[in-house]
């Protein structure tokens, strides 16, 4: 992994266009999904998606290969979103209480083969989780997504969010708690 990361770092320093094409292709789904969770809006997420890759091109020399590439990539995306929030209102992700009242969950597109009944049941669970997740405050939602959707290690999440590992852990505990409460609220 380290060798891969080191060769990636060297190629990013060279601004190798073919490598960037491959990376954009490879991470398009995960990065877009993460940005969608952060912004709650597909159009905004798309803008930040493009901005993130431009930043990767420009600041590629700063990636030293010590982190996994996706942690560095997500950290760039997160910082861009935070800057945007700060420009709009003087606040950080920590102070974002949650999504807009009228926010709708993301479009679900599942391409696995399931029976129609399974599809309905699974879609219900997923929609329920999406709705519950939307009710979790952004600061906790973010770590839940990084941990359980992106399957990042605690130190990688700490790297992305710029928070100490102890803070990441406590946000995860609170996030799980908030998710449980949101699910109970949704079920009621």
């Amino acid at each position: 992994m380290l060798d891969d990361a080191q060769s990636l770092a060297r190629a990013l320093k060279r601004r190798d266009p073919d490598l960037l094409d491959r990376l954009i292709e490879q991470y398009q789904f995960r990065l877009f999904r993460y940005l969608l969770h952060l912004t709650g809006n597909p159009q905004t997420a798309e803008d930040f998606f493009q901005e993130t890759w431009l930043r990767v091109l420009e600041r590629g020399h700063q990636y030293d290969g010590r982190w996994k590439f996706e942690a560095w990539l997500f950290a760039i995306a997160r910082n861009l979103v935070l800057d945007w929030h700060r420009r709009r209102k003087p606040q950080s992700l920590e102070s974002l209480a949650g999504p807009d009242e009228d926010a709708t969950p993301f479009d679900v597109a599942d391409e696995r083969s399931e029976s129609p009944l399974e599809q309905v049941l699974h879609a219900e669970v997923r929609t329920g989780v999406q709705l519950s997740l939307q009710r979790v405050p952004a600061i906790y939602r973010e770590v839940l997504v990084l941990r359980f959707q992106e399957e990042m290690q605690l130190d990688e999440i700490a790297g992305v969010t710029g928070a100490p590992i102890s803070t990441v852990k406590s946000r995860l505990y609170r996030g799980l708690d908030a998710l449980k409460s949101a699910m109970q609220g949704g079920a009621a």
């Binding site: 601004r15 890759w53 091109l57 989780v129």
Partner: protein, 155 residues
Amino acid sequence: MNGDVHERAARLLAERRVVTLAREDEQWLATHLADCAGCSAEDVRVAEALSALRAMQISVPRNLAGRTQLRVRLRAEELREHAPANRLVWAVAVMSWIFGLASAPLVWRGFEWLGGELHLPKLVWATGVVLWWAVPALVATGIVLFGHQGRTSAE
């Protein structure tokens, strides 16, 4: 007391999803879950929710990667075009520093002589030396910064 047990179970269940539990905690939790239908059901519910979160699919806008690749390639082209100009600016800056340092004693003597001829106090002609050094650098910095800002806002 009974509530404490369930609270402990809830806390350990959350911890188990984040870190590895100590063996005795793990054992205690397994025993508790075997006996407590409520906590066990809660555990299953959260596990299902997290599993659904993992499997969550979203629709990516059409041709998002293609459009991004195009923008990145155009920007890379732009950066390559600017690279020689940037190198030239750096080269000029380095040369200017070298000549500046080399000529510093002469400039000092020149201002000293001029100050003496015009009967100026030392503070005035020494300020002249400082300005001689600082003004071109400040102007150049301003040009570079405004140029960069202009390019950024144009994008």
